[in-house]
């Protein structure tokens, strides 16, 4: 069963066409990586799925339910099930780490008591390789990489069925990158959480993706398993894979 299905999605900003008939499917429990050059509409694609942008044409289905044209009030239910981690941390500066991660828990009354709430926050922070000692600190006191992981913990706290990631491992150290990759993989395999990951990190894509989709000119120009993409003859895919293999070679 497909969690998310995009059909012939089109979006233009003035004369620039960003999405040009894009069709894509994310099945239940699947990890799909979307790769492509900068400015090919990868982040725009994610914003359409959570209703932060409306397409000019096409349709988006979430668990078979068409989403386009829904009122803002109806989107809150969808977003509760379809969490998004932004490219920038987007933490609420005036709230502590505890309050940021607990935001969704409080909003949806998912914790019965304050102690349960603190435990839930500590567990989510641990899942992204962060200690409970940062709970009382404020976002401006943290590095960009730590803020991003707090942002991921905040999204995980509402236990969505689908996770949308916009460059989750950018600016992360290798240990944190591995932790995030393992987390995405574990959520998929143990809880059946589907993940749609926009990334430039080919190593992550090759390591944990079930399917990789190459976006170019607003369309999906190639897709397949990591092995299929490694063997692809498509010039753009081959270029990305060659670069990934070279970097792998340098490290080895």
């Amino acid at each position: 069963m497909s969690h998310i299905r995009l059909e012939n999605l089109r979006k233009s900003f003035g004369p620039k066409r960003v999405l040009d008939g894009l069709s894509l499917e994310v099945r239940s429990g699947e990890i799909v990586f979307v790769i492509g050059k900068s400015g090919t509409g990868k982040s725009v694609l994610l914003k359409h799925i959570v209703g932060l942008m409306q397409p000019d044409a096409g349709e988006i289905y979430f668990e078979g339910e068409p989403l386009c044209g829904k009122a803002e009030s109806e989107w809150y239910r969808i977003r509760r099930q379809c969490g998004m981690v932004f490219q920038h941390p987007a933490l609420l500066d005036s709230l502590s780490v505890l309050e940021n991660v607990a935001f969704g828990l409080r909003a949806h009354r998912l914790a019965k008591s304050e102690s349960e709430l603190r435990e839930a926050v500590a567990a989510k922070l641990a899942a992204v390789n962060l200690g409970a000692d940062i709970m009382d600190r404020f976002p401006p006191e943290l590095s960009f990489a730590v803020q991003k992981r707090v942002s991921l913990a905040r999204t995980l706290a509402i236990a969505p069925d689908v996770l949308l990631f916009d460059e989750p491992t950018t600016a992360q150290d290798p240990v944190a990158t591995r932790a995030i990759n393992e987390l995405i993989h574990r959520l998929s395999r143990t809880l059946g959480v589907s993940s749609l990951v926009v990334s430039h990190d080919m190593h992550c894509a090759l390591a944990i993706a079930d399917r990789i989709v190459m976006l170019d000119g607003g369309k999906a120009v190639a897709q397949g398993s990591p092995q299929e993409m490694l063997e692809s003859k498509h010039p753009l895919v081959a270029g990305f894979m060659k670069e990934a293999k070279e970097r792998l070679f340098e490290v080895d």
């Binding site: 959570v50 932060l52 809150y76 977003r79 932004f86 935001f103 949806h108 509402i158």
Partner: protein, 263 residues
Amino acid sequence: MKWIRELATNWISDLGASAMFAWESLNIGVRRGVRFGSLIDQMYHVGVKSLPTTLIAGGFVGAILAIQLNVQLRDYGAQAVLGGLATSTTIRNIGPVLIAFMLSGKVGAYTAAELGSMRVTDQMDAVRCLGANPMEFIVVPRLLAVILSSFCLLVIGLMVGIAGGIVISQLVLSINAVEYVQKIPRYVSLWSVGTGMAKSLVFGIVIGVICCYRGYTASGGAAGVGRAVRQAAVEVLVLIIVLDFTLSSLSEFLHAFLRVGQL
């Protein structure tokens, strides 16, 4: 003429959008309730932290009015009525306007800039992506906090303004404080106090609604936040002047109408 028409159209359009924003906030506040913890937190940030500035501004407003009116009254040998006139002017007109101007900079600009920054750094969208309405969780507590804080600060500012007039008269103008205070009831009726309170409430609403609306709808990065704060400041200042005139006229008209009615 064309630019005047465009300017007027834009102003009316912006006022309409602000009114819709206020209506939506009210609707959400009534239907979903107000986040009490967030409201208290915001009242501390915008209200309590603005108290020292308000006390200084209020005290000096009263003192300035007392000195200025004393210059006029001295020529006619009517300094005995200084207490009544200075207090009446402080409560009914100059006090609310000047203190509201100060609060629009202190409380209003802070709120517009904070909400604007949250908007342009995706914080509002992040809240939406958690399945929560930013109007309910971010805007309504701030809007209510700004309105309540502004009203309370205006009332405190007016009281301090009266005290400022008394102190300056005693210390600088050599007018006995008791004499000054004794003249107040003769010139300051309950109606005057009511007018001052009504103006304080309306100015508080104006500061809250315009600044929250401009911040919430900011776009275009840091420059967009700057633009939002500037627009909020200009609109609040102009509206306060216009509403001061309107409310003063309305107060006079109603007062006269009710007195005729009693006769």
